[in-house]
């Protein structure tokens, strides 16, 4: 590469690098700063010391996040595969159909789930008509996980699909020629090749699931907290920025660690696919 193009590359990427330093890196320092100060601005470890109290909430959030992510993966993988098998035009249509619900506020969509899941809601009145006893769904952990799966499923489908759509099908054919049956082709060929998409998908579902707060309030009946609820309360209700920042810091560190482990798995280039 010649020197001139090296200079050009610096110039064209400089707006982004300045932007990233200002608006991606700098805000993180504020989180750290607030975590270790009290409301008067003096150094304190008190915020960090109160954190163990929220351990159950952290663990619950992580568990719900894991479950939601696994369910999303199970639902999304076959769908992404099926979509990638269709004609190019159909593929485009299906991708847009996956994205379309996201164009309406997720608050409203979560709200409509309440009408569906209630004891006297649409699903239960339907079950009642066909003679099945109503199932209690709303205000349970299950309903919260359902809300997470619903809201974040597209984030799992899209990256997996985009990897699969680019798969080199001569490889798949080679695999079939070598005598692989359907199951083996999927296991040995398609799954390994779509790992980068799966990794991105897991990140894009797990992160928002762990930190969500609206879903748990609306579908969980408010009788248990997720960590997002607690953080939101500190900032918006209790006006305790310092504790809120400390909780955010822990959440951030937790996620960075799990993502580092994930990336280690994928043995890829350490960057995500969309």
């Amino acid at each position: 590469m010649n020197r001139r193009s090296a200079v050009t590359s610096r110039i064209v990427s400089s707006p982004y690098i300045v932007w990233a330093a200002l608006f991606i890196i700098a805000p993180l320092f504020f989180v750290v700063y607030y975590s270790f100060t009290d409301s008067a601005g003096g150094f304190t470890l008190l915020n960090i010391q109160t954190l163990p109290k929220y351990l159950p909430t952290f663990l619950r959030s992580i568990w719900f996040g894991i479950v939601a992510t696994i369910i999303c993966l199970i639902i999304a993988f076959p769908l992404a595969y099926f979509i990638s098998q269709k004609s190019e035009k159909a593929q485009r249509t299906f991708v847009l159909l996956v994205m379309l619900p996201m164009w309406m506020s997720f608050l409203i969509r979560t709200y409509s789930w309440m009408a569906l899941l209630q004891d006297t809601g649409i699903i239960n009145s339907f079950l009642g008509k066909i003679g099945i006893d109503p199932i209690h769904m709303i205000n349970t952990g299950g309903a919260v996980i359902l809300g997470m799966v619903y809201n974040f499923l597209p984030y799992m489908i899209l990256p997996i699909y985009s990897v699969m759509a680019k798969l080199d099908y001569s490889m798949v054919e080679a695999c079939q020629d070598l005598g692989g049956n359907g199951f083996n082709v999927i296991r040995l060929c398609i799954i390994p090749m779509s790992i980068p998409g799966v990794v991105s998908g897991i990140t894009m579902v797990f992160v928002p699931s762990v930190s969500t707060f609206y879903i748990s309030q609306k579908l969980g009946g408010g009788s248990f907290d997720l960590i997002g609820d607690v953080i939101e309360r500190q900032f918006q209700q209790s006006y305790n920025y310092n504790l809120g920042a400390a909780l955010s810091l822990v959440l951030m560190v937790l996620i960075v660690i799990s993502m580092a482990i994930m990336n280690h798995f994928s043995e890829g280039e350490g960057e995500m696919v969309i």
Partner: protein
């Protein structure tokens, strides 16, 4: 297998669209309820078209989504072109890791940390007590859109033939012209995906907007959230239904147009 395939796809889409059917249904409700259907009425559609607050909020949402998507696409595409040319090394790794931060950071942390930054800048540097507003929301949205643009454009850049641009330059094209005439068309699908992705994310975002919004610029999700003491009425459902149907129509038209143009090119060939 084919039947399983169809049934499965149908079920997943049923799941994705179930709440939207509910929303469409209750937008025609004749009472204020969003759980008991009393009778058919168009009054909420009439209502929402005259509701200045909702219309302003919708306008704000769209303006913000368009601006942030465009800005993020321009900055992000330029950045990708630069990053692609970086030599492998610590700097490139650092830039790429930073790019991943907004995606791996919980939205609530991003929102909160940006609010803290803005307030600090506003109070400490600009000496104003009303820094939050359209500007801060735009910055926040561009920031979380950027990684999506970069990560869709970069792979396309890698696929394009690097010699093409150089060949164009050798033939006397200025570098900028070479980029617009040769490179950009090649990476256009990636740029467009990034643009649509950014627009979608920006439109759907609530948490980050909630923390960075200011006087006179509330987006639709914030207005909806502020109804949590009184109630969300079917007029919001009607608004969502209008948005849904108009996008659907746009998509259908787009598909038909594209199909027609494809047919044309096929004939020519």
């Amino acid at each position: 297998m084919k039947i399983f395939n169809r049934v499965y796809t149908f079920l997943v889409f049923l799941f994705l669209y179930a709440p939207i059917f509910v929303l469409l249904l209750f937008s025609f409700n004749s009472t204020t309820s969003t759980s008991v259907f009393a009778g058919f009425s168009l009054k909420w559609y009439n209502q929402i078209l005259h509701d200045a607050t909702a219309i302003t909020a919708l306008r704000n949402t769209v303006v913000l989504a368009v601006c942030s998507a465009l800005l993020a696409t321009v900055i992000g595409t330029a950045a990708s072109v630069g990053i692609e040319k970086f030599r492998k090394g610590a700097f490139k790794t650092a830039v790429m890791s930073t790019t991943n931060i907004p995606m791996t950071n919980p939205e609530i942390v991003t929102g909160v940390s940006m609010m803290l930054l803005f307030v600090f800048i506003g109070r400490g540097i600009l000496h104003t007590d009303s820094v939050l507003g359209f500007g801060t929301m735009l910055i926040a949205h561009v920031t979380f859109n950027l990684p999506y643009v970069i990560l869709t454009v970069l792979p396309k850049l890698r696929q394009t033939d690097k010699n093409l641009a150089e060949a164009a330059q050798d033939l006397g094209c200025k570098p900028l012209n070479a980029f617009f005439k040769v490179v950009l068309p090649a990476i256009m699908p990636g740029v467009l995906t990034g643009l649509i992705m950014s627009f979608t994310l920006s439109l759907d975002d609530f948490i980050i907007s909630y923390f960075t919004s200011g006087p006179g610029f509330q987006t639709l999700p914030i207005v909806i959230f502020s109804m949590t003491k009184k109630r969300v009425k079917p007029d919001m459902y009607a608004l969502s239904a209008i948005i849904f149907v108009s996008i659907l129509v746009l998509l259908i038209i787009y598909n038909i147009v594209q199909q027609k143009s494809e047919e044309k090119t096929n004939k020519k060939m």
